[in-house]
Assembly symmetry: C2
Homo-oligomer: 709 residues x 2
């Protein structure tokens, strides 16, 4: 596993297309490398120049006659493949292709881009770009980009699929006093993607927080694998854009309609321990908190303030974001009571009043930081006549260093009168905000990340053992379906698949006449249910294709006729295989377990409240099938829904068998992982009884998989 050192901290760099002309990118890149304080050798390549910026210039990288780790390519796209080939021949390890004119411009560009990739593969080179701004590493130091400016040194890495956003944030970061270890523009991601770069940043000792702006993630499974490991080392915060308009994909299953790629990203991020930023503000607010403060042990928040109103706003935010207001110990309350003015509020939030100078801030902040019931602290300050914003800033910094296990954030509400104090706070690693809500939101991110760190890593957990799985039986059923040129399994076939994976299913037999249906009913024992069997009919109830609770031979016969009549009325042309006869199963809570296959992340399993209202209520939770390997994780998945309240026994009802349900979900996840042929699946409902759980209606859609792919 490479940490891409030859790209971020190369010994030698060639700038191919280096230029004397300040308007040219080849000028900006060379200029940036020199000015960044890069300590290695720099070789400008330009056949038309002898020397640029005081450096000897070469016709080609092949003329350098020395090893060159990294080449930055700034020549037009049409020449890029030639020079890339030369880099390979010269023994180069890394390329940064700044040049545009590749995939983003269409077919011709895509062809050129593919040539670049094949050259890299041939010579074992790694490539950033093409069509990128380049990269910066403030610790190497190296600015191999054409962007103006070099970030303040810090511990945040920012990986951006948008070059313009990278440049904007760089410019903005100076105003905010933020420091960065790396700025990386991924461009077209022809070779290196955010996955590789996250991995490299996770190994970079100078980076403590990894930020990423991504518009798409193309190798979902590898993303989960890499990030699951990386996020155990460092927080990864990603702003993923462009998912909203994707919406839920057109799909014939409930699960498909519920899923949509945004849900898959959510599930993948969750499983990988990646924090998802809701907005650009959110991304950088969290970055400031993570990059400067320790993780809070828990969410119990103390607030020290010199004003009531803003403290109420902060308290609202604590509740809104699911954190807790700390309950102070007896001792803390006594100390506060003894030392603060009588009108002060000594409970949380601690209101030290508008006439508080620095002394009072010092005393109150230190007291709450010493309280074992406090995990983190918010200091609010509003300007008033006797306020000492700068002195208090120094106090906050000092106490934060002393109590360095508990994060502190500052809300300095105001303008110019607080500028000096705010600058001191920012310069000394206290995340400082103008209004309370974003500070609490950042804290939430830290609390969630810490919870994730405390969980056992999925890779370290023993996957649950599932017995009674018969892959061959499923294979046989699928082969029969494919032989029949169908993509939807009939009810009894789906039942067979369930049984083969140890999922209890109501007994179902296909009848093709009234007589046969009545006979099967008698064998199963009344009551029974009848359901139309047709490859064209997805939602049987909607066309009058279902009858339940049939208690006698006569009722079965009548229902058979009625269903046929209904179906012929609604769908006169649908091919009908017959009617399935099913035994009636015990009462229970009806839930859905389903799967839809995401193009990036693979099988996505859904759980939620079942029945015909599933799409109406959308009371569902999602996981990647690959993440459902332990009972603990399944239980979390179940507990995220309101269906859980029903399962636990709602309003006097007996609790349902959550173990049996978990088993069904685990087996479903295994099934869809084992068979790539299964593209969509609904078990709706699964009826969860007092003991056991039964799949009542199973719909499985399949597609033949070309094994050679």
């Amino acid at each position: 596993m490479s940490s891409l050192d030859f790209i971020f901290n190369p010994g030698q760099i060639a700038v191919i297309g280096a230029s004397r002309s300040p308007q040219k990118i080849g000028y900006a890149v060379l200029d940036n490398i020199i000015n960044s304080g890069f300590a290695g050798s720099i070789f400008p390549i330009n056949p038309r120049e002898e020397e640029i910026a005081g450096l000897k210039t070469y016709c080609s990288i092949l003329d350098v006659k020395a090893p060159v780790d990294l080449a930055v390519i700034c020549v037009p796209a049409k020449h890029a493949t030639v020079v890339a080939e030369e880099c390979g021949r010269a023994g180069g390890k890394g390329l940064i292709v700044i040049s545009a004119g590749f995939k983003e411009t269409g077919k011709e560009g895509l062809k050129l881009e593919r040539e670049l990739i094949s050259i890299c593969n041939r010579y074992g080179m790694r490539m950033l770009g093409p069509n990128c701004v380049g990269l910066m590493d403030t610790h190497s130091p190296l600015n191999a980009s054409f962007a103006e400016g070099f970030p303040n040194r810090g511990n945040i890495s920012f990986i951006s699929q948008s070059g313009a956003m990278l440049v904007s944030i760089l410019d903005w970061s100076f105003e905010m006093g933020m420091g960065f270890s790396r700025f990386i523009s991924t461009g077209n991601k022809a070779d290196l993607s955010e996955i590789d770069l996250i991995q490299s940043c996770a190994d970079d000792p100078q980076t403590s927080v990894i930020l990423c702006y991504a518009e798409d993630i193309t190798d979902g499974e590898r993303f989960v694998e890499v990030c699951s490991e990386a996020s155990k080392k460092k927080p990864i915060i990603i702003l993923k854009s462009g998912t909203s308009s994707a919406g839920a994909q057109a799909a014939s299953s409930h699960t498909g309609a519920l899923a949509g790629s945004n849900r898959a990203y959510d599930a993948a991020f969750r499983q990988s321990g990646v924090l998802r930023a809701e907005s650009m503000n959110d991304l950088f607010d969290m970055a400031r908190a993570f990059s400067t403060q320790p993780l809070p042990e828990n969410s119990r928040t103390a607030i020290v303030t010199n004003a009531g109103g803003p403290a109420i706003v902060a308290t609202d935010a604590v509740e809104k974001y699911g954190l807790k207001m700390a309950r102070f110990t007896r001792e803390t309350i006594d100390r506060l009571r003894e030392n603060l003015p009588g009108e002060a509020n000594i409970y949380n939030p601690v209101d030290i009043l508008g006439d508080a100078g620095d002394d009072r801030y010092r005393f109150a902040l230190e007291t709450v930081l010493e309280d074992e019931n406090v995990d983190n602290t918010l200091v609010l300050l509003c300007p008033a006549a006797v306020t000492e914003p700068e002195k208090t800033a120094r106090t906050i910094v000092e106490l934060n260093k002393k109590h360095n296990q508990k994060p502190v954030m500052a809300v300095y509400m105001g303008g110019k009168s607080l500028t000096a104090g705010r600058s001191h706070l920012t310069a000394n690693s206290i995340p400082t905000f103008t209004f309370p809500e974003p500070s609490v939101n950042s804290l939430r991110g830290m609390v969630h990340y810490n919870e994730y760190l405390k969980e056992p890593a999925l890779s370290e957990s023993e996957p649950v053992k599932l017995d009674g799985i018969d892959q061959n039986a499923v294979r046989k059923t699928l082969d029969a379906v494919f032989a029949d040129r169908r993509v939807v399994l009939l009810g009894h076939e789906a039942s067979d698949v369930m049984s083969a994976y140890g999922i209890q299913v109501s007994k179902t037999y296909l009848a093709t006449s009234e007589e046969e249906a009545a006979k099967i009913g008698a064998e199963l024992g009344f009551p029974v249910a009848l359901k139309i069997s047709s490859p064209r009919i997805a939602h049987k109830t909607d066309v009058g294709g279902v009858a339940i609770g049939l208690h006698s031979d006569k009722e079965v016969r009548r229902a058979y006729g009625k269903i046929m009549e209904n179906v012929h009325y609604y769908l006169p042309d649908a091919p009908i295989y017959g009617i399935e006869v099913q035994d009636m199963v015990d009462e229970g809570v009806e839930v859905i377990v389903g799967m839809s296959r995401d193009v990036q992340f693979g099988p996505l399993v859904v759980f939620g409240l079942g029945g015909i209202y599933v799409n109406l209520l959308e009371d569902v939770s999602f996981r990647l099938a690959s993440g459902i390997t332990t009972r603990e994780e399944v239980k979390k998945m179940i507990a995220e829904t309101k269906a859980f309240t029903l399962l636990k026994g709602y309003r006097g009802k007996k609790p349902a068998d959550i173990e049996a349900l978990s088993d069904t979900i685990l087996r479903t996840a295994r099934l869809v992982s084992d068979f790539r042929e299964i593209t969509e699946m609904d078990i709706n409902p699964v009826r969860v009884h007092y003991q056991g759980a039964t799949a009542l209606d199973v719909k499985i859609t399949v597609e033949e998989v070309n094994e050679k792919e």
Copy 2:
């Protein structure tokens, strides 16, 4: 209706407790009045001074011997009543009581505050405060506060219950380049509350937007009345804090548990056309948009950008906040195609590429502004080599003035390189943001407000006429309940109340023996339902107190015995009145209609998905009963829930009778408005049939009302 001119723009002011000592509030207030450029007469009152700040000083306001519109009281609380009394005697019209030491300090303070109120009432004076910072009006001009600084002149009024927040925002506003017409600190709101002040600001020609920070609103009904009128003149945006921890009140009804004061505030704000800010950022972001830009006719948003990434983020926000991306006319697309580089994106968002100078911005922005399918425009700019941020800022300003029916917002993403452009934009009334999301959020506020303006005012709509209402019958039932010293109506009593208000209810009779139950069943016609009747039992199903679908004499008798057995088992000590026999009613969609009485806003009506899952699913919408007077409003209320999807006919089902349901809700609202004695009410379920709707289970809680109160 007073516009409080004597407070905001008085002819003469007395400062009672004026001081020479710069540490004193009485100094700051006088100094502020003088420095604000106040043009009227100023009378410092201080028995120990001859002259302060060059002004003749009086012993008492009574010595002034001239009319004094406004007195600002800065003396200690214990002297405040004396000087207030003198103000009254001197013919003063308004008081601003800066002094603290009143209600906020406890019992003694409350007594003093009540004295102040009674003095004001006696002399017909209006009072701001006590315990407030004062007020500022930049147009009068007048700074009658002790805060440091005087806001830039503008058209925003800010009313704050938190003095510290007011001072903070003042300080911050300079940095933001925001202008204000008024800053008002409400303090303890002993007399003038935000309601009066909103009313006054709505009448103030210099104010275009009213902002308010409130921790509580004490006269809810008047708030709704005043704001409904004021919001038709100007947007009112309120940040209401401190509701989260209130949570849902402890209540025995479903509705009570769902309601909580936060829901009441939401319903009240909605009904009054008040926009509720979610955070402080939200409050001031919206203020900037409303105070500078015209309202968009609709939500169709165009984006012009020089960078792809940020435009995707903006597009996500447009979708997230429920706005629409504009679809350009053919003509617009052709013009863009002809005049922009080939690689530009000519659809929305219009990406004019990283090498766009001002010319390209001008062309693209003007083109989309001219498109009839565009209601508003977002301009995104990221710094690049050829970007002309300042020149483009001037272009945006110019085009915004030219196309002055369509709001334009700017997102200038970056730092120092954009400062000059940003300043020009802000100074010329273009709301300017660093990141895209808040700009879109502000736009959402404007779109919502415009939708509200287009609605007919509730006060102008003819309230629906409801016939067949018999108040006397309800009065008689309630009297019987009170005579019986009960607070919960028995089932048949509740049925009587429903019937008296023309709400169809299933027929219910009380039986006290098996025989009687069987007899009633036969009379009603089988099948029937049995339900336990006890003042102690709220949720009958939970104790086995309900049996349904009883088809015969025998089944009724067996169920009677079983219910009694169940109830004695669960609640051996509950008093049992008997068992109610009810006819079984037609199938339909089960919904809840209920009411809980909010302490501030009065009866709050709920509608939503019914049955035993109502509290689990929380698929509900709320309205104040006073707002439910038209069919249109009821239909909006119904349409906000998922239950609406079911009612319209979900998945092949026939639509339910929404007219009948609306009628039930209208009659319920009328009932709870007519009878203050009804404190809580659940009709759960109301079964909405293909034709008609029936109240199946009605629970009414009452409390005797002392008419003299």
